[in-house]
Every structure is written in structure tokens, then in C-alpha cells.
Amino acid sequence: MNYLPLFTALPLLGAFLTPLLSKIWERLSDIIGSIITTFLLILSIYSIFLLPIFGDLYVYEIGKWPIRPIPLGIVFTFDSLSLLMVLAINLLSFACAVYSINYLDNYTARWKFWTLFLLLIAGLNGVAITGDLFNLFVFIEISAISSYALVAFGVEKEDLEASFKYQVIGEVGGLTILLAIALIYAKTSTLNMADIANTFLNENKGTLFWFIISLLTFGFLIKSALFPFHFWLPDAHSQAPAPISAILSGIFIKTLGVYTLFRLIFNVFGLNRNNAPHYFNLLLILGILSIIITSFITLKQENYKRLLAYSTISQIGYIFVGLGLSNFFGIIGALTLIFAHALSKGLLFLTAGSVEREAGTLDINELTLLKKRMSFYGLVYTLGALSLAGIPPFLGFFPKLFLILGAIKEKMLGLAIILGIFSILTLAYLLKITNKVFTNKEGEEVKENSLSAISFLFLVFLIFIFGIFYFNYLQPNLINKASEVVIRGIEYARLVLMK
């Protein structure tokens, strides 16, 4: 598996090549972008088969600096949790890249889009595979900065405003994370995550420890837009170009916020419900609050993309409920939801792009009056919405099921009922769009664009296939192993350092 650096090197190469080659022919950037995302997808699928051969953990030592006896260089640690994230990132980025080829006809400066897009992907992949704390920060910044620029890609009034607010709040989070990293370095004098875990294992957990945890939690909660740190998300995610909204909502916040938190909290700091119940209760309560509050806000939204953006916050709430429960079912639910939400929310945002292109507006009330039939988009949208709301046989059903099981396991029946009711509410507000925009329309049928149709069908196919074969394939091969990584907790350090 020594191709591991390719996950970041390939998109970086693409990003550096794009400005040069697009001078020759602008369309070349489309080709570079789609070829590189395809390669990444192939690599990540290949890793599914290769990783078990290496005992579900592969440590790549950059520059051949050995990790034993002391981790001198930067390492990439690739385990099942990283695999899950990498797979989600590259599945969605492939769909979005294919979709973007035609979508970019609406915008100027095609090559700038592709450069930033590839940088974004490089950053996300890097976050998912790195095993070094400062390297993690660098990758976070790469993806964050490219996302700030991409949100403002349309350079309209609202785009700039959204981008500015997003940058301010996002950078507060980023710098807090950097401060926490500095404190960690001062305390442990190492940057390798496994080594840090080993060092903290023997320390007593005093104020400094919790101060670091609070700073990191604060930073990552801002990145993951959990209530009450969510304010930037509706603006940024609704103003970005559709494929970028899809990536931001689908995978960006989860890689930068949720995955990192999973990794640091469980694997590095070794927290669990037994030794830090108040921490998990905090996350649980914030998760529940974000489900409830944003669901209420979402019901009254009148803008297609803004509605979807708000719904992302409540889905993040679900993930954090799983994280907060932090029992077997809860973790499985949260991890499956990361995967399922990436695919279905990506799909929904992509339909938003197509609808905007056809209608020129995203106001639901204006769309209701529109005399155009978009039955293909309607079908695709509805399937995505059903998956998101947790209706079987789609993939989205299983995370909700497992979260409810997790809540029952912790003897929180009220929580189980809240999760269910708000899941129905999710369906209600998502189907509001189906009902108002797609059904019972007169007028001529919109002609389908073949490339965007490919990306829609790709995502629908995944949602459906993973749903059908969830218990047969997805859970035993990916989710269970990833949840083992989380549940094993501090064991991670020993495994990495033994490799």
C-alpha cells in the first residue's frame, strides 16, 4: 500500500498542472479534474481489498524516517476509519467532478474552479489519512482555504458575504485548533498522534488536559457546524456552486469536524463514556439541540439550497448523538450516517444545481409557479430525500435505526422517540420540495444532460445498492471495522507504534 501519498499527491499534482495546461486549452482542466478524481476513486476502492491484507492498519513513513523507536518524521496511518472517510470523499468527489463539467458552463474561469476543487480534495484526503497532528492542521487549512474561495466562486454580493462570515468563523476555529496543538506540543514534545496518545496515557488528566480538549472540541465543532456553532453553514453552503455545496455538506464538515474529533477523542485522548461521561453528555445534548432547533427552522425555509443546508445541521446533530452515545450501536449509526449522508445530501445538492440552471431561481415559491416539468430531477431528489429521512431500503435507514438502537441500549427511550419523530419531520420538509417543485407540473419536459445524469444515477445507485447490501456487505466489511477502530480507543497508539 505504498501508494498512500498518492491520495494527496495526485490531486495536488492536478492542481499544479491545471493552471499551466489550461492555458493551452481551457477544457483540458475538465479532463484533468475528472481523470484525477476517477483515479482517486479507483485507488480508494482498491484499498478496500488491500487493507485487510495489511491487518487493517497500514503505516506509511514519509521520507523513510522510522516510526520506531521514536517517530521522527511524518507518518500516514491508514486504518478502517480512514478507509471509510477516503471512500466517502472520493465517491462523492467523483460524482461532483463529473457533474461539474457541464455545470461550469454557468461560470467564468473554469481552471480556477478545478484548481481549487482539486486542492479541496487533496486537503480532505490528507486529513483522513494523516497520522501527524500538525500535518492534520496543514491539511485542514488547505481544504478550508480552498473552500473559502470556492464559496465565493460566483462573486455575487451574497457569495462574498457568505464567504467572509464563513472565513471569520472558520478561522477562529482553525486558530483555536492551532493553539491547542501548540499546548499539546508543549506538554508532550511530539506531534505523532500515536505518540501523543502514549504520552497522555501516563499523565494525570488535569486542567491542561481538559483545556486542550475544550479548545479542540471548540475548533472541531465550529468546523462541523454543530449547534450553536452552525451559523456560517446555511450561508456558505447555500451560496457555493452546487457541486461545492454537495462536497461541503456531504463530506467536508464531516472530515474536518467529525472524523477529526472521532480520531482525537477516542484514539488519541482515549476518552470514553466511562472515564468522561460529562464530555459525551455535552456532545449528546448539543446533538439533540441541533436536531430539534434546526428542524424547526428548516420547516419554514423557502429557499431550495438553504433548506438543504439547514437539514445538514440536523443530520450532523444525529451524528453527534451517535458520538455522544458512544456505545456500539451509536458509533455504527454515526459512522454509517457519515457515509449515507455524504451520498444522499450530495445528491440533493446536485439536483439543486440542475434546478437552478433550468429555472434561474431557487425560491421554492417561484419554482412552484414554474411551467417546466423536471420529472427526472424529481425522481432523483425524492430518492435522495427518502434515504436522508431514513426510509428503507435506502442506505439512510440503517444509521437512523442504529442510532435508535443505541439510544435504547443506553435506556434513553425519550431520545429514541425524538430521533424518530424528527426523522419524520426531515421527510416532511424534504418532501415539501418534491411536492412544490417537481410534482403536478405542466409545461414541457426538461431535457436531461447526460453527464449530470451519470452523476445522479451513480449516487442513486450507490444509495440503493449499499442499502440493499447493507447487512451483507457494507456493515461487516467497512462500518464494523471502522467502529472497532473507534471503540478500541487508545489501543490505536500501540498498534501504530508496533507496525
Binding site: W210, P228, P234, S295, L427, N435, N440
Partner: protein
């Protein structure tokens, strides 16, 4: 490939072919339904011969016993019949290709539910069905009907979620168990799971207080949808699952309170829905309230826990799907020509549509429980079951019995009204040239009406001994068949009251006088009397005191007292039940209106506000984590 997979997969494949190939569309759809029926018949006969057969595919586990074999047969039969009917009925319908595909899919997935033999399989198929029903509703709504659509989704989705939650509880404590363990209902978790599952069943079948989606969609859905979803399929599935859960997965007889819970729900459903039905002026809505009311009998029968009662309720489920589907279909036939379902606008169509009328009449008599039709037998068995509770010392049985019988009387009354106002009485002039409908339209309903008679006359040899008794896990003791029981007397009494009411209506009709409006005599054709006014005073009598005013007009006769009491009860139910129903829905709407708008104020667009909240957030995090 065995019949199990083919049964489920073939309709999906042929449906898809039909969806793609436009010139052979109806043929493919028809073929899919026929094949489904064929395999259902095969599985049915296999299930008769052997005990239980199971097949496992991964975590999916399918099995067939005698109960599911029999339900499977009827699900498949109804899918076929309604497909035949709708091909003609929706000929000019815009989105019929989606409609039929969904119809086939729903049929085959319902077969999957019935064949499901462990928790996960059942949950997954149940969920698939929910999403298919959403899709189906989307393609069948007549006009822009957001409220009805959202409301039905809300109720169905919520209750299906609760059902899945119930199964999830079981999954946590027992794992992926098969559905025939007869777990006793003693510990709290099992009771909770049982109640949650019954809520799902109630919503599917349409028992109060989760019934309101049925009347709601009746306003916006075509007759074929109504006949398919609430009238046949959901009854079969809901009651099948209730039965399966009550006597196979759990053992209801181990918990006295839960039995009463079911019976109370059943009784209330019978009474409240029939009272609501009495005052309806729209044929579809009236029928849909009856569809709710009849569920009450089935729930009541299952709740008795007495073999004869349970058998009666299973039989009633079968009968109800027969006649209720037939009623919806015949009403649809009327609508096909007249484009009208408001009762007041219809009348005198018996001459024009004799076959439709005959089917309708037979079904109406069957639903009212007139011997020797099938409805009589099944209701009588349920009564017997309820009376048998006396031996167990459950003295509430009297209340249940009264509710059931009273409901039966009122059903008859309301169907007399409906039959009269659609097919008898004055015929509006514009309907004179109406002809009988096409074969493919009248065939399904006539077949069903014929089955109603057949299952009535040959009740014991055919349906009971052939289908019902073998399906149940207990030995059924016959409690004397033609004994003059209390039940029989009350039925006769019911017919008597119904007849009195009918005569009263008939007298009103014959009495013709000159009508003066603004000093001018009305022309003959404008003087159209219709049956819809029969029970309208009930609606206008909100309280007893108000009722006495009517009493004065009608010189305090028995009927007016009855009217007044009924009016009060029905109003009570309308108010209370509707209130309970709406309350969840409305609360959430209210919350999102007020609470939501308050919360939206936080998203003020001003960056410093956001930062303020964010920094309050970190202060809280610091305080919680460090202190």
C-alpha cells in the same frame, strides 16, 4: 429460483419492462400481476400441504405458514383485480405508467412483508412499502393537495417509525428473531414493544386515533387508489401483522390489560367512525369512514383472545376487503361516467347501471351484516367471541358488545342512505343517458360481490374450514351455529331500526309538494331530492339542548331522541378524536411557526451576533469540561 423469489421479483421486472416499453405497457403490467398471482396460488397450495417452509438469503429469512399463505393469495388477487380495473378506469390519466408500476411494486413488496419471517426482513420490507406508498400517492393525487399528502405522510411515517422502534426494541433484547416465538407479554419492555408495533398496525389498517389519513386522502385520490391502499392492501397487512404479533410473536393471552386495550380501541373505532360516516355528504369520504369503522371489529375480535373471536376477526378482515373494495370500485364506476361523488348530486342510477347497482347493493348489505351474506357471519363470530369473555370474567364485554352491535345498526343505516341516494330516488336529468360501464370495470367488483355471496352462503365449508381455521394457532370450538343468541336478536333489531329509518326516508321522498321560491313555482327537474339529508340534523345538533329544538319540531319522537344522542356522541368524537389527532401535527406546525420564527431571528445576518453565540458556546464548553 423458487416461487419465493419469483413471486417478488417477477412483478418488479415485468413492471420495469412495462415502464420502459410503451406499446406493450398494459400487457407487461398485466403479465406481471398474473405471474404474481400464479406464484401466490402455488405458494398457497404448498402452505396448505406442509407445516412451515423457510428460505434464507443472507439476513433475509422468508417463510410461509398457513396464515401467510392465505393472506398472500388475497393480496395478489387484489393487486390483479385492481390492475385490471385501473387500466380502464385511468385510461386518460396522465401519469399512468408510474401509477401502474408503483401498483405492481406495492403488490410484490406486500407479498414480501407477508413472507417475512424475521424482524429485520419485516422491518426492511415494511419500510420499502412505506416509501412506495409515498411515491404512489404522489403520482395519484388528483390536484394540488399538499395538506392531505403531507398529513398522510406524517401519520403513516410516524406510526411506521413507532412500529420499527418497537421491533428495534425487540432486536436489542432478543436479536434477529423469527416471528413465531410466542413471547409472553410480562416484562415492561415487551409490552412497550407490543404497543409500539400495534400503533403501526393501527395506522396501516386505519384504527382510531390514527385513521384520519384515510378520509383525508379520499378527497384527492381516485377510486382505484382508495380501493387498493386503504380498502384492501392495508387492511390485509395491518390486521395480518396485528394477528401475527399478537398470537405468534407474542402471546396476547398472557396479558389481560393489553387485551382490553385492543378491545377498547376497537370499540371506539367502530362507534366513532360510523358516527362520522353518518354525516358525510361525499360518497368516497363516507366509504372511507366505513373502512375505518370495520377495522374496529377486527381489532375487537383480535383483542378478545377467544379462538372464535380471533377467527371471526380474520374472517372479517377477508370479508371486509372483499366488500369494501367492491364498494370503492363501484363508486368509482359511478364516478367514471358522472364525474361526481357528492351524494346530493347523484340519484336513480340503478336503471342505467344495473350490474354496478347489483354489486353495490350486495356489498352494502354484506357490510351491514345482513344474513346470509359474509359480513353477517364474521360479525357474528366476533360477537360470540366478545360474549365468551363473560366466562373469563371480563365484564367489560357488555360495553364492547353494545358498541359493536350499535355500530352494525348504524352501518346499515348509513348504507341505506348511500344506496338510496346514488342508485335510487330521483335521477338528475343530465344522467339519463348514462350506460353501464365496460367489462373490465365491472368485472372486478362483480367478482368480489359474488365472493361476498359465496362466502356468506358457504361460510363454513369454504372460507372458514378452508382458509381461516387452519391459519390460526388454536383449536376453534364451534359455539352453536344457529342458536338464537342475543347477537342474532340484536341483528334483527338492527335491521328493524334500519328499515324504520329507511321507511322514514322513503316517505319523505314520495311526498311531493309545490315549492315556491320567491313566489315562483320550481320546475320539476330542479326539485331534486336526495338522500344526503337523511342524517344531516345530526350534524347540525352540536349539543343536547340544540337537539331538543329538533325534538320539538319532530314532536319528540323516538327517532329525534336517537338523533340527538347520536349527534352529541358524534360531535364528541369528532371534537375529541380529531383534536387528539391534530394535536401532534398541529403542535409541530405551531412550534415551527412560533419557536421556529424565534430561532430564525438568531440567524440575523450580523456576524457579531454569531460570534457572540459561538463564544458563549466555548465558555459553556470550558465550564462543563474543566469544572
Amino acid at each position: 429460483m423458487s416461487s419465493f423469489e419469483l413471486l417478488i421479483i417477477l412483478p418488479i421486472i415485468f413492471g420495469f419492462l412495462g415502464y420502459l416499453v410503451s406499446f406493450l405497457r398494459n400487457e407487461f403490467y398485466f403479465l406481471g400481476a398474473i405471474l404474481n398471482f400464479h406464484y401466490a396460488v402455488r405458494i398457497f397450495f404448498i402452505s396448505r400441504k406442509t407445516e412451515v417452509i423457510r428460505k434464507t438469503f443472507g439476513i433475509f429469512n422468508f417463510g410461509v405458514d398457513k396464515l401467510s399463505g392465505f393472506v398472500l393469495l388475497f393480496i395478489s388477487l387484489f393487486t390483479l383485480l385492481i390492475l385490471i380495473y385501473s387500466i380502464r378506469y385511468l385510461k386518460y390519466y396522465e401519469k399512468k405508467k408510474e401509477y401502474f408500476y408503483y401498483l405492481l411494486l406495492i403488490g410484490s413488496i406486500s407479498c414480501g412483508i407477508v413472507l417475512a419471517n424475521n424482524i429485520i426482513t419485516l422491518m426492511i420490507f415494511w419500510g420499502i412499502l412505506l416509501s412506495l406508498i409515498f411515491g404512489f400517492f404522489q403520482y395519484t393525487t388528483k390536484n394540488n393537495s399538499e395538506d392531505a399528502f403531507i398529513k398522510s405522510i406524517f401519520i403513516l411515517g410516524l406510526s411506521d417509525f413507532l412500529l420499527i422502534l418497537g421491533f428495534a426494541l425487540l432486536f436489542v433484547s432478543y436479536g434477529n428473531i423469527p416471528l413465531n416465538l410466542k413471547i409472553s407479554l410480562n416484562n415492561n419492555l415487551n409490552i412497550l414493544a407490543y404497543i409500539l408495533i400495534t400503533i403501526g398496525c393501527f395506522a396501516k389498517a386505519g384504527a382510531i386515533p390514527l385513521h384520519s389519513w384515510i378520509p383525508e386522502i379520499s378527497k384527492v385520490m381516485p377510486a382505484s387508489t382508495m380501493a387498493f391502499i386503504p380498502a384492501s392492501l392495508d387492511k390485509l397487512l395491518g390486521i395480518y401483522l396485528l394477528l401475527k404479533v399478537s398470537y405468534y410473536l407474542f402471546d396476547l393471552n398472557t396479558n389481560f390489560t393489553l387485551k382490553n386495550y385492543l378491545m377498547i380501541v376497537g370499540s371506539i373505532t367502530i362507534l366513532a367512525a360510523v358516527l362520522m360516516a353518518l354525516i358525510q355528504k361525499e360518497a368516497m369520504k363516507l366509504l372511507s369512514f366505513h373502512a375505518v369503522s370495520q377495522v374496529g371489529y377486527m381489532v375487537l375480535g383480535i383483542g378478545t383472545g377467544v379462538p372464535i373471536g380471533v377467527a371471526g376477526s380474520l374472517f372479517h378482515m377477508l370479508n371486509n376487503t372483499l366488500y369494501k373494495t367492491s364498494l370503492f370500485l363501484t363508486t368509482g364506476q359511478v364516478e367514471f361516467w358522472t364525474k361526481e361523488t357528492r351524494i346530493e348530486k347523484l340519484g336513480g342510477l340503478a336503471v342505467n347501471m344495473p350490474i354496478t347497482f347489483t354489486s353495490f347493493l350486495i356489498s352494502a348489505l354484506a357490510i351491514s351484516g345482513i344474513p346470509p351474506l359474509n359480513g353477517f357471519f364474521s360479525k357474528r363470530m366476533i360477537y360470540q367471541g366478545v360474549i365468551y369473555l363473560y366466562k373469563e370474567g371480563n365484564y367489560l364485554f357488555l360495553l364492547y358488545l353494545l358498541a359493536a352491535m350499535f355500530g352494525s345498526v348504524l352501518t346499515l343505516a348509513s348504507f341505506l342512505k348511500l344506496t338510496h341516494s346514488i342508485f335510487l330516488g330521483d335521477r338528475p336529468k343530465e344522467y339519463e343517458k348514462i350506460k353501464e360501464v365496460n367489462f373490465s370495470l365491472w368485472f372486478p367488483s362483480s367478482l368480489l360481490a359474488f365472493l361476498c355471496i359465496l362466502f356468506g352462503i358457504l361460510a363454513i365449508p369454504l372460507p372458514l374450514k378452508g382458509l381461516i381455521y387452519p391459519s390460526l394457532p388454536f383449536k376453534i370450538e364451534e359455539i352453536g351455529f344457529w342458536q338464537p343468541t342475543l347477537a342474532f336478536i340484536l341483528i334483527i333489531l338492527g335491521i328493524g331500526i334500519g328499515f324504520v329509518i329507511y321507511m322514514w326516508g322513503a316517505i319523505q321522498k314520495i311526498e311531493k309538494r309545490e315549492i315556491f321560491i320567491g313566489g315562483e313555482s320550481l320546475k320539476e327537474e330542479e326539485r331534486h331530492f336526495s338522500g344526503d339529508q337523511f342524517y344531516s340534523p345530526i350534524k347540525e345538533a352540536p349539543l343536547l339542548s340544540k337537539g331538543f329544538e329538533f325534538g320539538e319540531e319532530g314532536s319528540f319522537d323516538f327517532y329525534n331522541y336517537l338523533k340527538t344522542i347520536l349527534g352529541t356522541i358524534s360531535l364528541l368524537f369528532k371534537k375529541v378524536i380529531d383534536f387528539i389527532l391534530e394535536i401532534i401535527y398541529q403542535t409541530i406546525v405551531y412550534f415551527s411557526e412560533t419557536f421556529g420564527s424565534l430561532l430564525r431571528k438568531f440567524q440575523s445576518g450580523i456576524l457579531s451576533d454569531y460570534l457572540v453565540v459561538i463564544f458563549i458556546g466555548i465558555v459553556i464548553i470550558l465550564l462543563i469540561l474543566i469544572l
